[in-house]
């Protein structure tokens, strides 16, 4: 337990000290971006990692909440606080409905349905110009001032994002260790046995879907605060694929994995985009290479290597019998 505490304290200090080490506003903003994507990747990891349900339409909740937040403030005259709450509710409700539809199938059928639903939401944002501004997107006038703290400058915004991510990490950590987390992993590995033991597999998966949509919506609201702009790209298949790649690349089913994935992908994307225009090709190549050569991700791969180096036996063999 004390080791966990020490890790948490070290992480907190590192996050707090990071802006001083970086100094420059550009890097502080980049760090905020990484934290937002880390939260988004953690949300999809709840589904693809813990529940074993690969979603390719997760941008729908992220972008949906971002659009809802901007739309409510611009068009419906909501104030910042109620717009944020309503936007998260909207994203979560969208996930609740899409979850009911997607969970009619399992495995790759699930993936295909989430992809189709995500593309429909993208199509609405792109084509329904009257509602969403179409390709021009939507601007958000100003960032809010939560509890009276002004977060319009990069540094305060970074701390605000870090606090939100910290809360999310704590909740997800508790969730992963809770009985619900255990039954979620159970439905992933042994759905039939779980059903036999009296668990409502569908309900467990649906609740995970809704929670995943909830955290994706929070990330979406942070995203629209960060950019003060949202466009159909936020809802695109590319966005869904990027975040899925973050969670898979880092290591699905761990808490650290999606964060590592978010750091790697966001850094690569920003570095590459400043040199050449071929981010999509590189994204595809990373997909192919990571699936072929690093099937279980950076974090589990490194952990295994670490255990082998230190000579410790792995705690429990992950039994994967059908």
């Amino acid at each position: 337990m004390s080791r966990t505490l020490a890790t948490v304290a070290a992480l907190g200090v590192a996050l707090a000290a990071l802006p001083w080490l970086l100094g420059n506003d550009f890097y502080v903003n980049l760090s905020s971006q990484i934290l937002i994507y880390a939260l988004f990747a953690l949300s999809i990891n709840l589904l693809s990692g813990y529940a074993g349900l690969t979603s390719l339409g997760h941008a729908a909740y992220f972008g949906g909440a971002a659009y809802a937040c901007a739309w409510l403030i611009n068009r419906a005259g909501f104030d910042q606080a109620s717009a944020a709450v309503a936007a998260v509710l909207f994203g979560t409700a969208l996930a609740a409905v899409f979850g009911v539809l997607s969970l009619r199938a399992s495995g790759l059928g699930f993936l295909m349905i989430t992809l189709a639903l995500g593309q429909i939401v993208w199509g609405i944002a792109y084509r329904w110009v009257e509602l969403t501004g179409g390709d021009n997107g939507m601007r958000l006038g100003a960032r809010p001032a939560p509890l009276g703290v002004d977060i319009s400058r990069p540094l305060p915004f970074y701390y605000f994002t870090a606090v939100v991510l910290g809360i999310a990490l704590y909740c997800l950590w508790r969730l992963a260790r809770s009985p619900f987390g255990a039954s979620l992993r159970g439905t992933r590995d042994q759905p039939r046995r779980m059903r036999m033991l009296g668990h409502h597999v569908w309900l467990v998966q649906w609740i995970a879907f809704v929670m995943s949509g909830f955290w994706a919506s929070i990330a979406g609201v942070l995203f629209v605060y960060y950019n003060q702009f949202v466009s159909p790209i936020t809802l695109s298949l590319q966005q869904s694929a990027e975040v899925l790649l973050m969670s898979i690349l880092g290591g699905a089913g761990t808490l650290a994995g999606p964060i590592v994935g978010a750091i790697v992908i966001t850094l690569v994307k920003n570095v590459v985009s400043s040199y050449l225009d071929r981010w999509n090709t590189l994204l595809g190549v990373i997909f192919v290479v990571s699936v072929i050569f690093m099937p279980d991700g950076i974090v589990p791969g490194s952990l295994r290597l670490w255990r082998r180096l230190t000579g410790a036996a792995s705690p429990k063999g992950a039994a994967k019998t059908p």
Partner: protein, 287 residues
């Protein structure tokens, strides 16, 4: 009256294109259990390769269709043989690889053919409308519809009457048993993947005179193919046929009558099918 005639014909033509796209998608999914997310990119690549082929051979449209189909079939075969084969048994990995290739192909098309839409010329002898009972009918739409129906008949005969078709159906129904009785299922994978890619590529060229070849054609077509297969059912040729024309009509009239809401309208048939018959109209359970 003219509006309805044109839109009906457009819907039939779009349905035909969707059939060329989704029949291969559905067969690949049915046999290999992998939704090939590069299928939209295959369609777009076919259109580009086709229009370049036409430029090389002096504008013969049908050689362009052949070139688009063959070119994409070769690419699909290489993808299946050298990449997907390495990941046999890891279906999720295979899907992600097809998605990766969808991005790579789309981006490379942008590099090779640029960002502006490239018009694909229809054969000159079908470029003028047919007049009948005082109404003008765009002739090319009939050509697309005719090719799609001919293809459907050929595919049906292949699947239903030949040894190859029987083997594919056996693989779709129960792969382990098919392997057990000595069918080389892995070779079927390559054949079906090439066939599906060829159909998508040829469909891209054939649709060219209607849609033209442009970046983003892939992500416009992929969701339609997905919805067709969700509607019609996985691995079913009849499902792909019925689903294609249903979606062709719904989408086309949706765009014509409520341009803002076309995607919302697309959503409804999908929801209805998922609620009442999640395996699709003619399919078995999605797995």
């Amino acid at each position: 009256m003219q509006f309805w005639v044109i839109q009906t014909l457009n819907s039939f033509a779009l349905g035909g294109l969707l059939f060329l796209l989704s029949s291969g998608f559905s067969l690949i999914f049915g046999l290999m259990r992998v939704p090939n997310l590069a299928h939209g990119a295959f369609f777009m690549l076919g259109a580009y390769v086709g229009v370049s082929t036409m430029g090389q051979v002096g504008g013969n449209f049908w050689l362009g269709v052949l070139g688009g189909g063959l070119g994409v079939a070769v690419l699909g075969g290489l993808l299946e043989r050298f990449i997907l084969r390495r990941l046999a048994g890891n279906e999720q990995g295979q899907v992600l690889v097809t998605l990766g290739f969808a991005f790579i192909i789309a981006d490379m098309c942008l590099v090779a053919w640029g960002g502006d839409p490239i018009p694909v010329p229809a054969p000159s002898y079908v470029n003028r409308p047919l007049f009948f009972a005082g109404l003008a009918f765009p002739t090319y739409r009939f050509v697309v519809l005719g090719v799609a129906i001919a293809m459907a008949v050929i595919l049906h005969i292949v699947m239903d009457r030949t040894r190859l078709g029987a083997m594919i159906r056996a693989g779709v129904d129960d792969m382990q048993m098919a392997r057990g009785i000595g069918i080389r299922v892995s070779r079927l994978f390559t054949i079906v993947f090439c066939l599906g890619a060829a159909l998508a590529g040829a469909g891209g060229v054939l649709g060219g005179p209607i849609t033209s070849a442009y970046p983003g054609l892939d992500s416009d077509m992929l969701p339609l193919a997905l919805v067709v297969v969700i509607l019609g059912g996985v691995g079913s040729l009849l499902g792909a046929f019925v689903g294609s024309f249903a979606i062709g009509f719904i989408y086309n009239f949706g765009i014509a009558l409520f341009p803002d809401l076309a995607y919302v309208i697309l959503f409804l048939p999908m929801v209805l099918v998922l609620v009442w018959r999640p395996q699709g109209l003619f399919g078995r359970m999605l797995r």
